[in-house]
Amino acid sequence: MNFPANLRYTKDHEWISLEGDIATIGITDFAQGELGDIVYVDIDTIGQHLAAESVFGTVEAVKTVSDLYLPLTGTITEKNSSLDNAPEKVNQDPYGDGWMIKMKVDDPADFANLLDSAAYQSLTGA
């Protein structure tokens, strides 16, 4: 299982990368493995300003559905529309082509408070 060191993580199994005040968010390799084959990513919060830990969408696997939680407070600016026709990208490349949203964060300093790769890895028990 893969836990890239340049990313930050949440206990809800999202990963975050940050460039300036724009964050890219997806779900972790661990999360996609637990969910199994992902068939639909439902995000309809683009343009909304939401607080950290709000639900910004849901991910549907064959057998289960799981909410997606916003790691930081800010405005959702973009979603990965290519997942509409190829949701399996989340399974195949969770940290790359399987990204889910981009957001403009209110306070980039909050990024440092998220879990680092080692802390997240120990949380998954891997």
Binding site: G36, D37, D42
Partner: protein, 364 residues
């Protein structure tokens, strides 16, 4: 948690395990879609040893079966099996099951759902006023399902029984992979063809048979399959899952199981069901496919085009062989027509769906 004789095999194969009906069962191995396709196009092996088996014996065995089940078991001759329901006095389904006729009028085997073993046993025992001999052999019985268009071709070299030409819902008993008294039955709950095999868990039978099937099948692409794909496979066929689509409060007539409800003999629910049949049902289990994007799930609300609640989803999934989302649910009878547009309430949004004919998928 209980184990089956194959639990260690599943774990060694890297299966994702979870508790089901008190057993530690494999949910998936290589992924639900991959396993599903293996069964639809080739072959897969399922451990379903958690299911329950009862033997009913003696001169009153058939009478007892006739009294508690909805189908007509008197039609069964040696080597034939039938799908049936245990019903309560209010027409509700205590369980769905298979009835195997081992020896006509003398020996029958009932195969029941794992989660209902105790309930069914008590229910049948309570109706056993003539003291038919009853044996619960669930704990010592192994059950493997080998399903898929190539399943019998893969298995045939392991036995002298003719399983290639075994007719649907018939069975034979004999030596299989060096083990005596193996019951091979042309049944299964996938719609993909294949067999189910029953044998006693003694000596090293379980290991012998599992290893022989994998040795014969793996080079031909046979894969181990978990309960996840078992569910998507049965749902594509419109087969009911007990606890989801049928339960103590739904009747066989409502569930589309009129074809296994025979009024040729009295049984626990026959009076109620005869009345329901002549009055007509108020709700009916229908199959539907999503028109707009969304996956229906158990217990989601079903609405009409004015937003009125008209039913609930009982099962739903993205169907791997169809590439679309499908579901089943009970819908008020005046809304249950084929092609009727209905709406599934998915996270407070009404998503369009259409009632369609089942099975959803037709195995070529």
């Amino acid at each position: 948690m209980k184990q089956t004789p194959f639990t260690a095999k599943h774990i060694a194969l890297g299966a994702k395990m979870a508790e089901f009906a008190g057993y530690n069962m494999p949910i998936s191995y290589s992924g639900i879609n991959d396993e599903h396709q293996a069964v639809r196009t080739n072959a897969g092996i399922f451990d379903v040893s958690h299911m329950g088996e009862f033997i009913l014996k003696g001169e009153h065995a058939l009478d007892l079966i006739q009294k508690v089940t909805s189908n007509d078991a008197s039609k069964l001759t040696d080597g034939k099996a039938q799908y049936s329901c245990l019903t309560n006095e209010n027409g509700g389904i205590v369980d769905d099951l298979l009835v195997y006729c081992i020896e006509q009028n003398k020996v029958y085997m009932l195969v029941v759902n794992a989660s209902n073993i105790e309930k069914d046993w008590e229910w049948i025992r309570r109706h056993n006023s003539n003291n038919a001999e009853m044996h619960n052999i669930s704990d010592k019985t192994c059950l493997l399902a080998i399903q898929g268009p190539n399943a019998t071709k893969i298995l045939q070299p392991l036995t002298e029984m003719d399983i290639l030409d075994l007719k649907y819902y018939t069975f034979s008993k004999g030596k299989f992979a060096g083990v005596d008294n193996v019951l091979v039955s042309a049944t299964g709950y996938t719609g993909a063809g294949g067999v189910e095999i029953y044998f006693e868990d003694k000596d090293d039978n379980a290991e012998k048979i599992w290893d022989a099937i994998l040795a014969a099948g793996a080079p031909k692409g046979l894969k181990p399959i978990g309960l996840g794909a078992r569910d998507t496979l049965r749902l594509e066929m419109g087969f009911c899952l007990y606890g989801n689509d049928i339960d103590d409060f739904s009747t066989p007539l409502e569930a589309g199981l009129g074809w296994i409800t025979k009024f040729s003999k009295p049984f626990t629910a026959s009076e109620f069901l005869a009345k329901q049949k002549s009055n007509g049902v108020e709700k009916k289990l229908v199959g539907f496919e999503m028109i707009e994007k969304g996956i229906p799930r158990h217990d989601y609300m079903i609405r009409d085009n004015e937003g009125n609640l008209i039913g609930r989803v009982t099962s739903g999934t993205q169907a791997p062989s169809l590439g679309k989302a499908i579901g089943m649910g009970y819908v008020r009878i005046d809304q249950a027509m084929l092609d009727n547009e209905i709406f599934i309430d998915i996270r407070d949004k009404n998503i369009r769906a259409r009632i369609v004919k089942m099975p959803f998928y037709n195995q070529p």
